[in-house]
Symmetry: C2
Subunit: 246 residues, 2 copies
């Protein structure tokens, strides 16, 4: 028995998210069916990140166990021939039999894209959120300094989270502007339910001038979801990648 790790990219537009659900098709379900059929074995993948409906990935991670003798690096090409076009395995390799993608220490990187202009660009509608009023990126950068570091992120966690602790460490939060597109890249040792989307919603309020950058320090300290900005739309969010430590 070998454990195979897959790095998986997907367009989340047509899925209910990573995790299997009653109400529609999930990426996990497509992976299970495709690999099971290919190997003629009953395969259940274990995913690293349960991305929400509409959220995209360049590099989510999943593992599965198989009796197959196929060289590990061949799985990416073999599965891509059988997967729908909106899911593509980027890499495949063998890992230790006890490697668990949710139980090993890792750093996750997310990216959130905001289109800040007078009118939406249709080709960006599934891959960014649209903000009409001009955002002050310098203020958003100033606010981001209160997010970086180890904090209790309870203010940035939606109800329904099962996390035991709400303390997380954010290593980097970079805000880049290229024309009308603002890209926020955030890297941390873990993220609470909707945490990236609530951080972005809060930074947007700062960018609009609703409150000053310094107020974000108070929002963090309050440990109160009601203080932070709204949860921005899923389609702007992409799980860029997961780095495993050891």
């Amino acid at each position: 028995m070998r454990r195979i790790l897959l790095v998986i990219a997907y367009d989340g537009t047509n899925y209910v998210g990573w995790q299997k659900q009653q109400n529609g098709l999930s990426v996990e379900e497509v992976m299970n069916k495709t690999i099971s059929k290919f190997l003629n074995e009953e395969i259940e993948v274990i995913g690293a990140s349960r991305t929400d409906s509409g959220v995209h990935a360049y590099g989510n991670v999943a593992v599965f166990d198989t009796e197959s003798k196929i060289p590990a690096d061949k799985f990416s090409f073999a599965l891509n021939e059988r997967l729908p076009e909106d899911i593509r395995v980027q890499q495949s390799m063998e890992v230790e039999a006890n490697f668990h993608p949710r139980k090993c220490d890792c750093i996750k990187t997310y990216c959130y894209r905001i289109l800040n202009r007078r009118h939406m660009i249709p080709t960006e509608r599934f891959y960014s959120t649209f903000v009409y009023s001009p955002l002050d990126v310098e203020k958003m950068r100033a606010a981001s300094t209160y997010i970086v570091g180890e904090h209790d992120f309870k203010s940035f966690c939606s109800a329904g989270s099962q996390a035991k602790s709400t303390v997380r460490t954010i290593y980097n939060l970079d805000i880049d502007k290229d024309g009308d597109m603002i890209t926020i890249v955030i890297r941390g040792n873990g993220f609470l339910y909707n945490m990236v989307r609530i951080i972005v919603g809060t930074l947007i309020k700062v960018g609009l001038g609703v409150y000053p950058p310094e107020h974000v320090e108070e929002i963090v300290a309050a440990k109160d979801r009601g203080m932070a900005g709204q949860t921005v739309a899923a389609q702007g969010l992409t799980l860029v990648g997961i780095e495993y430590l050891e």
Copy 2:
């Protein structure tokens, strides 16, 4: 009677192209129906560029005549409330009654995106073409110098073109590489049928090393479609904008 000009962006994925067709829904048809219903007048737009099925636009141009007294700049917002999400008017303004978007001198800018990597990224599948083998961008840049300038582009024109002359001027052809994404921006006073897609197909052959950059000079001189590269896929192409002169 006033003539209103619209700058229109669209995601071409779900359309048969700009122009009305028997075999499916066109952007032109959606524009005609939406404006006619909004104004309660029979409106027929005149489009500047008849983009093909799957080709996108940030700034195609169309005009229509109306008896309406609505301020010209309000049309963009009013129509965007009524158009499907994959079409968005970027700008609206009044122009001279005799302004014809296909009969006035203009400069058009197109952009073509090539994803050059080991596996496709699903979120890019409708907005780029995928090339697995590594492309030599320096060689592609060297080849592009033979395209820039006034030339007879007969070698780069698909059968079925109705153009009287095949002489066109390309002002700029810039090739940019950002990570795995190669973006080709081409600006000229007019383009023959499939001309951008055949130029890109030719540059890809140079990038793959099929022939040296200098060979593109011979391809231009030959005035023979059979000499040039293949017509690359529509989805990588975007009409960026049209600048009207004078």
